[in-house]
Amino acid sequence: MDYNVKLDIFEGPLDLLIHLIRKNEMDIYDIPIAVITEQYLEYLELMKELNINIAGNFLVMAATLIHIKSRMLLPRPPEDEEEEDPRMELTRPLLEYLQLKEAAEQLKLRPLLFRDVFTRDFLAKEMEEKEPGVIRVGLFELMDAVRKILLERKEEPFVALPSPLVPIENKMEEILLKLKQMGRILLDELLPAQVSRSALILAFLALLELAKQQKIVIYQEIQGGNILIYDFLPPATIT
């Protein structure tokens, strides 16, 4: 047989399946599972021969296909009429995927800003009415800022009483709550407001933990400028 191999690069197993279904003009609700499994495996073979690195998800799909095929071969107990066609395991994600592909196509058809339609240009400076251009803050800038606050802090004479240990989670919650109310917090407001040095350090650690968990983001207006804490992303980000 004469094979004319045209190898499209399929991003994933679903793309490959859709290609095979279209090529064979199959009914997605009645996929001939043996045929498609065979062709799918042939394709994987081809990819192997061509030294294309086959992603694991292609193999998972191969296993799924073979599994469905074997289930189709088993006689179904008559009382189990209700049981779903095993091929639905394939049809359902395919339909959902096709739907999303179409949704993406629809998005593309919209009047796109900077392609079809344009707005006035505003200088970046104007863009952020209240929020100046901000840059992400590195750990070292953050530590510098904290060091500065610690140095400036005048320790009030106080009687050391065993202070109750505040778990860091409480402090994290407190910061998140404050953020929710204020939208953003200045580092220079948050830290000096702490009653003691240990509370200050706790607040700092809470900030780091929140940043690590991606619950907050920490930005700086300009290099060396004020350090701002937001929940999630500020309106305009210059990176």
Partner: protein
């Protein structure tokens, strides 16, 4: 003579982002009743529909914004010499997933597309089309993603409910284009 309509035109003209009704109310305070403002906005939109106008007034991202009519896009590109930033098909599909299924985790996106979306998610974040909206309260607390205001502006959507529903989108209409080429969408860099 009522000044509200030309005033709105002026306000929208100078506003760098789509100007929302709430913001308009803040500006005009009690000078004009809300009803009058809404009526004037509707009238203004209608007036700009006139083909004699190069702009149209569009409600986008819960605000009003003047945009150039699509038929002038080629001329404008000559003026602005924009370099196209591309959104690949994969990126656009992933963006569609976020738009329709938000808030959504990366795992859920990967499940729907059958492939990893790690790099794409990062690109979409960088292009400010999606953002982190929280964490899902399941083991591992994965990050949840949603679309941004910029997404609405880029695709000229009034809000998220302006998206055609998935039911409306006939997934299997006769011929889903085989065109797998990258779409060229210019995202604002």
């Amino acid at each position: 003579m009522n000044e509200i309509k030309p005033l709105l035109e002026a306000l929208i003209f100078v506003s760098p982002t789509p100007l929302g009704l709430k913001k308009i109310m803040e500006v005009v305070e009690d000078s004009f009743p809300k009803k009058e403002i809404e009526a004037a906005l509707a009238l203004l939109i209608k007036e700009y529909e006139n083909p004699e106008r190069g702009l149209y007034l569009q409600e986008v991202a819960d605000g009003f914004q003047f945009r150039t009519k699509p038929r002038f896009s080629e001329w404008i590109k000559r003026l602005k010499k924009v370099t196209p930033a591309r959104l690949s098909r994969a990126a656009l599909e992933t963006l569609a997933i976020v738009a329709y299924k938000q808030p959504v985790t990366r795992g859920e996106m990967e499940h729907l597309r059958g492939v990893e979306v790690d790099g794409i998610v990062r690109t979409l974040l960088e292009k400010n089309l999606i953002r982190i909206v929280g964490r899902k309260e399941i083991p591992g607390r994965p990050i949840l993603y949603g679309t941004t205001q910029h997404f609405l502006e880029l695709f000229e959507l009034k809000n998220l409910s302006a998206l055609p529903s998935l039911e409306e989108i006939k997934a299997l209409n006769a011929d889903l284009s085989e065109n797998e080429a990258d779409s060229t969408i210019q995202a604002d860099e």
